[in-house]
């Protein structure tokens, strides 16, 4: 339990009440929305993006409530929390025994970590059965695209299964070399194969006498280290690199699909009004897309949305304030400046 408390305090401290606990929740679940992606950078919390994929809303709010009842948190407005003095003390104390695994910070390939892991599990399961001369097995995932991908994978490789299997084993062992034994164990013990059933994260947490959060973090840390190794020396890991498919994923600036459509229309010279009515979306949504694009693509021109003076004005105000809360910035900027303009500056400046 106390690792959970440590994580809650760590995150609440980071966000200083500037985002609601559900904003943080979306971050932990890895929600692919402009707001969440931007927040993660704004508050230097990328490491936590997608770190607890299966966290349930109930569990999260339950955890927050229980920290509140221990007077570690205070609610400054609905769903927004900061640490109490007791909370800060507790955090300092917990930091002596707990930490966030370093590998979590390796966020370059965060968009593909989940598909990579699913593909890896499928490949290992099928290879394991192949080398044991079993053609049929009960697949670990029912996701049709992953199953289909696995079939194509073998068609592409055309090398004998024993060789692939041996090579893959070697690659995984080498690529995990930066991980601790615990991290490697948590990763490997989730894999299934011939006469071996993988374990769930929860079972592994129990087995290692640690909390669910810590085990999930250690797992993500190991996957991220693995991907990092692969990306740094793809030639050394031909099979893993093929599974990760880094080239394809790098070429696409990671925009949400909807934002991509909006970008196309902007490039064709339409105004935000026009785009909203064509796409039957609200102006707000289209503005969200613009923010997302500005954030993801530094070369995206924003002069048609904000004039130079206003930009500098907002920039100054932000510099003079310690908070990133929009309403506070807005009050300081005055009537003529819209929320949209402020968010645009924040996105552009990547603060």
């Amino acid at each position: 339990m106390s690792y959970h408390v440590f994580v809650v305090l760590h995150l609440i401290k980071k966000f200083q009440g500037d985002r609601s606990i559900y904003g943080i929740y979306h971050l932990l679940r890895g929600k692919k929305s402009s707001q969440t992606i931007q927040d993660s950078v704004l508050f230097s919390a990328q490491a936590f993006f997608n770190s607890l994929e299966n966290l349930s809303r109930e569990n999260w709010s339950h955890l927050i409530r229980s920290c509140c009842s221990k007077h570690l948190l205070q609610e400054i407005k609905k769903d927004h929390f900061t640490l109490t003095d007791k909370g800060s003390d507790t955090y300092l104390m917990l930091s002596k025994s707990y930490s966030i695994p370093a590998g979590l910070e390796l966020t370059d390939w965060i968009d593909i970590e989940t598909p990579f892991w699913k593909k890896l599990k499928m490949i290992i399961q099928s290879l394991s059965h192949m080398v044991h001369h079993k053609r049929y097995y009960y697949p670990v995932t029912r996701q049709d695209d992953i199953q289909q991908w696995t079939k194509n994978f073998y068609r592409y490789l055309k090398v004998n299964r024993y060789q692939i299997s041996k090579q893959l084993q070697k690659e995984i062992k080498t690529a995990l070399s930066t991980c601790s034994d615990l991290e490697s164990g948590i990763l490997v013990y989730q894999l299934s194969g011939f006469q071996v059933n993988g374990m769930t994260i929860e079972q592994l947490a129990m087995l290692t006498h640690s909390s669910l959060f810590e085990t999930s973090f250690l797992f993500k840390s190991s996957v991220r280290q693995l991907l990092n190794q692969i990306a740094s020396k793809p030639n050394k890991y031909p099979i893993l690199a093929k599974i990760a498919d880094l080239d394809r994923s790098a070429s696409a600036v990671s925009l949400t699909q909807s934002a991509r459509k909006t970008l196309k229309l902007i490039n064709r010279g339409l105004t935000l009004d026009q785009i909203a009515s064509i796409r039957r979306l609200t102006q707000n949504t289209i503005e969200d897309h613009v923010i997302e694009i500005a954030f993801q693509d530094p070369s995206f021109p924003i002069d048609s949305f904000i004039d130079e003076n206003s930009y500098q004005h907002i920039q100054r105000i932000i510099g003079s304030l310690t908070t990133k809360r929009l309403s506070v910035i807005k009050d300081a900027c005055g009537q003529d400046i819209s929320y949209f303009m402020i968010r645009l500056v924040l996105a552009k400046e990547r603060i």
């Binding site: 299966n54 349930s56 290992i124 290879l127 394991s128 080398v131 044991h132 001369h133 053609r135 049929y136 097995y137 009960y138 697949p139 670990v140 995932t141 029912r142 049709d144 024993y162 299997s165 041996k166 893959l168 084993q169 995984i172 062992k173 995990l176 034994d181 490697s184 164990g185 990763l187 490997v188 013990y189 894999l191 299934s192 194969g193 011939f194 006469q195 071996v196 059933n197 993988g198 374990m199 769930t200 929860e202 079972q203 129990m206 087995l207």
Partner: protein, 495 residues
């Protein structure tokens, strides 16, 4: 010859009760209605004819998860000509399957999907060997209000030609049987009805005063009797809580299973249980359908189900290998809250209903629009309640009825359905309270009698716990763990 196929394709050396007769009828192109108890190998009855008869075997199945399970199991046996068609597939996936129909041997499908004109058109072009309705009691249970597509199966079957029809279920009383036969238009069918009584399962109900007492009772039973076992609970929360309590108090390998877990975690836990890596699985009723494990020794209910049918199905997962097994239901007065809550939650209450209808009226929402589902949940209807209401409302779309009249009619449907559920619940409760032989009492509900009494029967007939007691304590704990390198080696090396 049938035995050869049985051995070759499914690995069994002999037929079980009923299978051969049913298959024989089907091969002779007769319609068949069959009640086979759970765990008697129902699926063999339609899978095996697939290897004898020319053409496609269509299997209508009510549940998505069941459909996928059956599919994967067949594939795991090496049969690749099998697909599942349901409305959850993407357009491309459906198209892909439509293009492959000719090459398939088995097609699992939901009754809703069978309404698809394009699919029907494709199906009329190929030869159909057999039309199967699995879990046929759903026709009667859900068809009338909930899934009316079930009522159209007869006409679809006739559209597809003259293939024989097989209706299969594990539990059907006389009323349900007649309903199924009528709805599938198979009055001349051969009927095979086998007793649902499972003699090798002893039945026990234990009353407790408090929840704590119930937990103690559960733990002491788990510690003394043979496992593996299944422990059914009324909610997801309880499965998790009980699992951690049992983990602390015993050294058994325990895991929970419920619909709130990811599919991947559910597959892992299910495989671990089937492969004997778990001693006890603590679950909601989401666990069980389509699970094939023959040596389950204990089925325990921590909360009682809403319906005696579910109870019979669930205890039927014990002792499929024919060996002596035990079913224990634990009961304490507070338990009555759970099913009451579940029933209430399945339907929108009066306030919610009124709010939804006023929005329909003022926002002028079309009754068949999908937007309704959003509105309903915004107004506080649970997911099941919203689905129920959505379906009911669609029945009135395009009928140009006064909206207030619709509201009244739906209100009375809800009343009826609730009363029906209450009657079922009371039946379950009366069974728990009975002073008679438990086996006789539940069989009576299916117009069956105990033919020969076998010891040990039930707590009211008297039973000696020693039979179930483990010999010398089987010491259980997690195996000594391999290092991760060894584990990887095990997976990828064959030496």
């Amino acid at each position: 010859m049938l035995e050869t196929i049985l051995k070759e394709k499914f690995g069994y050396s002999s037929f079980r009760q009923g299978q051969k007769e049913i298959i024989d009828s089907i091969i002779h192109r007769r319609d068949v209605f069959a009640v086979l108890p759970t765990g008697s190998g129902k699926s063999i009855c339609y899978l095996l004819p697939g290897y004898v008869m020319e053409g496609l075997v269509i299997i209508v199945t009510p549940l998505l998860s069941l459909m996928e399970d059956q599919c994967e199991q067949l594939r795991a046996h090496g049969e690749k000509r099998v697909k599942a068609l349901n409305s959850f597939l993407t357009y491309q996936e459906k198209e892909r399957i439509l293009g492959q129909l000719r090459d398939l041997k088995y097609l699992f499908i939901s009754p809703e999907m069978l309404q698809n004109k394009k699919l029907l058109n494709q199906l009329t072009k190929i030869k159909i060997a057999l039309f199967v309705v699995d879990e046929a009691h759903c026709i009667s249970e859900w068809g009338h209000e909930f899934r009316t597509d079930y009522l159209k199966l007869a006409s679809i079957r006739h559209t597809l030609g003259t293939a024989p029809c097989l209706a299969l279920t594990a539990t059907a009383n006389d009323h349900v049987k007649r309903d199924i036969i009528k709805q599938l238009d198979m009055e001349q069918c051969d009927q095979y009805i086998y007793p649902i009584d499972r003699k090798n399962i002893s039945i026990v109900v234990k009353k407790c005063e408090t929840i704590d007492e119930k937990i103690e009772e559960a733990i002491s039973i788990i510690k003394t009797v043979h496992l593996p076992g299944i422990l059914y609970c009324g909610s997801r929360d309880w499965t998790e809580q009980l699992t951690s309590i049992i983990q602390i108090r015993t050294n058994y390998r325990v895991a929970y299973y419920h619909g709130g877990m990811t599919t991947e975690d559910r597959i892992l836990i299910q495989r671990q249980f089937i492969d004997g890596e778990l001693d006890l699985i603590v679950c909601t009723n989401a666990f069980g359908m389509g699970i094939n494990k023959s040596n389950v020794r204990l089925v325990m209910h921590f909360h009682y189900p809403k319906h005696i049918n579910s109870y019979v199905q669930e205890i039927g997962r014990a002792g499929r290998d024919g060996k002596q097994s035990l079913a224990v239901l634990l009961y304490c007065p507070l338990d009555d809250q759970i099913p009451k809550h579940l029933i209430d939650q399945s339907y929108p209450d009066d306030d919610v209903l009124a709010r939804i209808f006023s929005r329909i009226k003022y926002e002028n929402v079309k009754l068949h629009s999908d937007q309704l589902l959003v509105i309903m949940q915004e107004e506080g209807a649970s997911e099941t309640a919203a689905q129920f209401l959505h379906y009911q409302l669609r029945q009135f779309a395009n009928k140009d009825l006064d909206i207030e009249k619709v509201q009244k009619m739906i209100k009375s449907t809800i009343q009826e359905r609730k009363q029906h559920k209450w009657r079922e619940l009371n039946e379950m409760k009366r069974w728990i309270e009975t002073k008679r032989c438990r086996r006789e009492a539940y069989l009576e509900l299916y117009n069956e009698q105990v033919i020969e009494k076998r010891e040990p029967c039930c707590d009211h007939c008297g039973l000696n716990w020693d039979i179930f007691r483990k010999g010398k304590r089987e010491k259980r704990s997690f195996d000594k763990m391999d290092t991760w390198e060894e584990r990887l080696q095990k997976l990828l090396n064959n030496n």
